[in-house]
Amino acid sequence: MSSIVIAGDTSGSVTLQAPAVSGSTTITLPATSGTLLQSGTTVTEAQGGIGTTVGYNGFKNRIINGDMRIDQRNAGASYNQVNGQYSLDRWAGNSFDGGAATNKFSVIQSSTAPTGFSNSLLVTSLAATSSGASNIFNIEQKIEGFNFADFLYGTASAQTLTLSFWVRSSLTGTFGGALKNSARNRAYPFTYTISAANTFEQKTITITGDTSGTWVGSTNGTGLWISFGLGVGSTYSGTAGAWGGGDVFSATGATSVVGTNGATWYISGVQLEKGSTATSFDVRDYGRELALCQRYYFSYLVPATCPQGFGHMQSTTAARILFPNPVPMRATPTFTSLGSLGIASGGTSFIASASSVLGISSAGVQMQFDVSGATAHQTCVYRDSGGTTFSAEL
């Protein structure tokens, strides 16, 4: 280039200000046309930026297992939703028609997924469930308070958030969901539209932060509750697009998936982030995603002959066992034996007559099992023919 042209505009002026230092400074302009970055401007992800003015330093996506890769409980097997129970890791569902309803829809980790993802959560309606005011059929995730407190909900500084996800259904129309607090008295119903049947579509919903209500803050309680409605009655539905009171799981008038026998609904790439822009999905390494899930649930599904816990005989009648956990759990977990549990010590097997979960530590879950005729202070091991699970879900 042999010349520099400085063009003026209709008014105002441009000042090239030299720095207040001695010496020479050279600024090299880019070789292609464009606009120089301005302070405070969003640098798009295509430009190598983060696509938002929110200053992220990790953990952009507050949803855990948003890409549906982790399925500790069912390992890819189909699960008929039980009211209030979990299917894929961190994803629970309700099947409620005034009371717990069974065999209304199934959930499975599917390999049918949007481009760039390996899995989705697939819901299949198992009946043509009639609509009822008290119906709550949904898929939901509760975000722990520690992972949401910086959104400052319930204060004047409440942050705008953006929820994005890929969804596909055999049905078309307007579908619904809701965000709400732990106390179930503040909610934001939302809608999204599926235009083409059996085609993944990405949806983005930006929601202004709630400055009202009681939110749990930085605790291990439920910081934010996200519900995707599959058939929610009028009692638990609200008008979309605004924060309000009430215990809401979806938006008024939303399409019912469970209302059509055989209807399907897939979801994946669920991301909830700060700011008003849906940025690219925050892909975390598998080990970290699994560890995030194991704060809420983990299982020992090991060969029956392999010990799962270790300890000592506290007395002749009590065995104290420590179960090492992958990561510290959210709360003292519920313990479930999936087979026949036993304690072995000093060449003798004992049948436990009672069990108590004593507590948690960074080392693991501590339990006590009542036995009889043991020798105090001998070491012992715990094993279970079917495995054991620990749950500290929200």
Binding site: N220, G221, S315, T317, A318, R330, A331, T332, P333, T334, F335, T336, S337, S353, A354, S355, S356, V357, L358, G359, M367, Q368, D370, S391, A392, E393, L394
Partner: protein, 52 residues
């Protein structure tokens, strides 16, 4: 339905949920325990421990 699980030392720190034989600790942050408290508040009573 639930069953109480007193330990040999006489203390009760867990309750057994009979539908899946899960042992639920008395931790206010445990949601299964919260469900148990709700069940109690509805006027229900857990089964006594075996041998009592």
């Amino acid at each position: 339905m639930y069953k109480l699980c007193p330990q040999s030392d006489g203390q009760t720190k867990s309750v057994k949920r009979l539908v899946d034989n899960a042992y639920i600790p008395f931790d206010p942050a445990n949601t299964d325990y919260q469900e148990y408290l709700k069940w109690l508040a509805e006027g229900n009573t857990p089964e006594p421990a075996e041998g009592t």
